[in-house]
């Protein structure tokens, strides 16, 4: 296991430099590609190129504290560029590459919303996106200084001594408690919550989380997770680079089309650790054929950590039964509970031990009590997300934020040494979730049993689709504007898709349309409206005027209407599936 106390460096740059000096030839990043040989970055080569990026960034005017948005697809130069930004004290912020279905204006609106909160100073992207992004950068109201294309920069020249001294001078002024990166929560129309993390928050987290998974110098992380997502960025990228281990990075777009890539990379490179959202277990178990699995062994994987959406017992079962014959170790099936606000991990299951499952009486659970039950007809099987990691605390609270009894369920509140300091430029949202004593109220519902955390639901209405948070407000906003949907008369909610092992988005909208033909056309218009903001609506329920139940605030109630839809006995509701 890594002795974290012996690692040098109080900032991320210092830590990376330490590995470039002590283990220069060790592979830092293996940039995996479906059609080509991987690109392999050693720690020394990665830092050398990052230095060149730092100098270039300094010369174009990027300063310490500037927020640098990166919108770049899977590319081997992404990594040194990201490091190069950190190397001059600026804050990298990885944004999702726009999906082709996203309407250009909606994409720019998203950037505007993000820029208002985060104060984006620079955008670094690919030449292909110039026409899409330039109008946003040229807007008088924007905070963005300029748009650059770092993949086009030419780096033939070596850095001279004087330039290196200038960079070292800048780096000496970067302090451990200063901001290191900025992450955004999901959302499309300005609901993103920017989280800023300091060098010390990340380094403390790397140490505490690394210990909990018994991270060793010989570990190799493999991941297809996008780097704009906290699990991809922290677990599969920062954890590796700040611990001196190797990270194998797969293109998320390629993985979705060819899920075998994860196992190919794991098998070829003998990877030991990976993190997956729950839907990936179902997808891989049902999609990968014996023919594809030929020549693949999963023996090297010592931990496969389920995170980012509710962990389902049936997904672990399905995954293990499918891949056991290919060397998958049952005890590799772990889980964690994590969020961007605490840098990442709050709880983690023990290495070498399958995530525990317990059967709880459903009825008691609905009234907030945890009662173990053997009656299969009344049970709910809950999967553990593990023990609390070091320098982190949890309490379970009721609606008044008072701690519940030992056997009670309630909202999960967290305190951590790696806690964010509040959402950037969003004091009202920060005040909602962070109290004066430093407790962060997650909005997730769970309970503690034998010192392990079980997450069972959410207080918030957020829909988690394949590990991505989608806010119902975003969906309702776009559907509410569709012609022939009665204005403001729409709700969005998540419906379980047990086959896929995740939630999918459903909407209920009121309309005056009545005929089958009209309703079918309206459904298509609603699906297209969702597509324009890159939201895939799975089920459309259409109902007549005044069907939706209102809450006390006068708005349609998501909870009450979702329950009404679930009962499936209302003839007034039209749906095609």
């Amino acid at each position: 296991m890594i002795d974290f106390s012996s690692l040098q460096g109080n900032t991320l740059w210092e830590r990376w430099q330490y590995f470039a000096q002590t283990t220069p030839d060790k592979e830092a990043i293996i940039h995996y590609r479906a059609a080509d040989e991987p690109v392999r970055w050693t720690y020394a080569a990665l830092l050398e190129t990052a230095n060149k990026f730092s100098l270039y960034l300094k010369n174009i005017g990027v300063k310490k504290g500037d927020v640098c948005a990166i919108i770049i697809r899977h590319n081997p130069y992404f990594y040194p560029f990201y490091l190069g930004i950190t190397g001059i004290g600026a804050l990298p912020s990885v944004l999702a590459y726009p999906n082709p279905r996203l309407h250009p204006e909606k994409f720019r609106q998203g950037l505007t919303g993000m820029a208002q909160r985060s104060g984006l100073d620079w955008i670094f992207t690919e030449t292909e996106l110039e026409d899409l992004i330039l109008p946003f950068v040229e807007d008088k109201e924007t905070t963005v200084n300029e748009l650059f294309f770092p993949l086009e920069w030419n780096f033939h020249k070596e850095i001279d001594k004087e330039s290196l001294q200038e960079l070292n001078f800048i780096r000496a002024g970067i302090k451990e408690n200063e901001p290191m990166l900025l992450q955004h929560s999901s959302g499309t129309t300005g609901l993103q919550k920017p989280v800023v993390l300091s060098h010390s928050a990340i380094l403390s987290h790397v140490e505490n989380y690394g210990k909990s998974i018994e991270l060793s110098e010989n570990d190799k992380i493999v991941s297809w997770l996008p780097l704009y997502h906290d699990m991809g960025l922290i677990a599969a990228y920062h954890l590796a680079l700040a611990s001196g281990v190797t990270s194998i990075q797969i293109d998320p777009f390629e993985w979705v089309l060819a899920p075998i890539l994860l196992f190919m990379a794991a098998s070829e490179e003998k990877a030991t650790l990976t993190w997956l959202p729950n839907f990936a277990y179902n997808l891989m178990a049902s999609k990968l054929s014996d023919e594809e699995m030929e020549d693949i062994t999963l023996e090297s994987l010592r931990m496969i950590v389920n995170c980012s959406e509710p962990v389902r017992a049936e997904s672990h079962k399905k995954f293990f039964e499918r891949f056991n014959e290919f060397g998958l170790n049952e005890n590799a099936l772990g889980a964690m509970y994590a969020m961007a606000e605490t840098t990442l991990t709050v709880t983690q299951t023990e290495p070498g031990k399958r995530a525990a499952e317990i059967s709880i009486d459903r009825e008691s659970l609905s009234s907030g009590k945890v009662v173990i039950s053997n009656d299969e007809t009344k049970n709910r099987v809950c999967v553990s997300s593990g023990n609390i990691i070091e320098e982190c605390e949890i309490k379970i609270v009721d609606n008044n934020r008072d701690e519940v009894d030992g056997d009670g369920s309630g909202e999960i509140a967290v305190k951590s040494i790696s806690m964010f300091s509040g959402y950037r430029n969003y004091p009202e949202k920060t005040a909602e979730v962070l109290d004066d004593e430093g407790w962060y109220y997650t909005g997730d519902i769970g309970f503690l049993y034998n010192d392990e955390l079980y997450v069972i639901g959410r207080k918030k209405d957020v829909i988690i689709v394949a590990g991505n948070n989608v806010y119902p407000e975003d969906v309702e906003d776009v559907v509410g504007k569709v012609e022939n949907v009665l204005p403001g008369r729409v709700i969005a909610f998540g419906e379980d898709d047990t086959e896929l092992g995740t939630e999918q988005i459903s909407i209920v909208a009121e309309t005056n349309f009545e005929t089958e033909e009209e309703l079918k056309k309206l459904r298509l218009d609603i699906l297209r409206a969702g597509m324009s903001v890159n939201i895939n609506i799975n089920k459309v329920y259409l109902a007549p005027s005044r069907w939706l139940i209102k809450s006390s605030s006068g708005k349609p109630s998501r909870k009450a209407n979702r329950e009404r839809i679930k009962n499936k006995n209302d003839e007034q509701v039209w749906s095609i599936k």
């Binding site: 999906n99 082709p100 979705v256 839907f279």
Partner: protein, 79 residues
């Protein structure tokens, strides 16, 4: 050219009426309502079932539009 059979499989999987949706050789997944990354796997499985063929992930990865998917189906059927 896209066969009616392939178009019908895709539309059935996405609950779309084939007569109201334009799908041709050049059509890419993001242009079809409902065809996202989650539904992609279901569509591929539905095509495999209907035609009685099996695709490898890497073969599907190379299909950048529906025309390429049709060619992949045709090549499997001719083997």
């Amino acid at each position: 050219m896209i066969s009616d059979r392939l178009k019908k499989i895709i539309c059935d999987e996405l609950y779309l009426d084939p007569s109201t949706i334009e799908i041709n050789d050049q059509t890419e997944a993001p242009q079809v309502p409902g065809w996202d990354s989650l539904n992609h796997a279901n569509i591929i499985v539905a095509i495999e079932k209907d035609y009685g063929v099996r695709f490898k992930g890497l073969e599907v990865l190379k299909c950048n539009n529906v025309g390429a998917l049709q060619k992949l189906v045709d090549s499997k059927l001719s083997n």
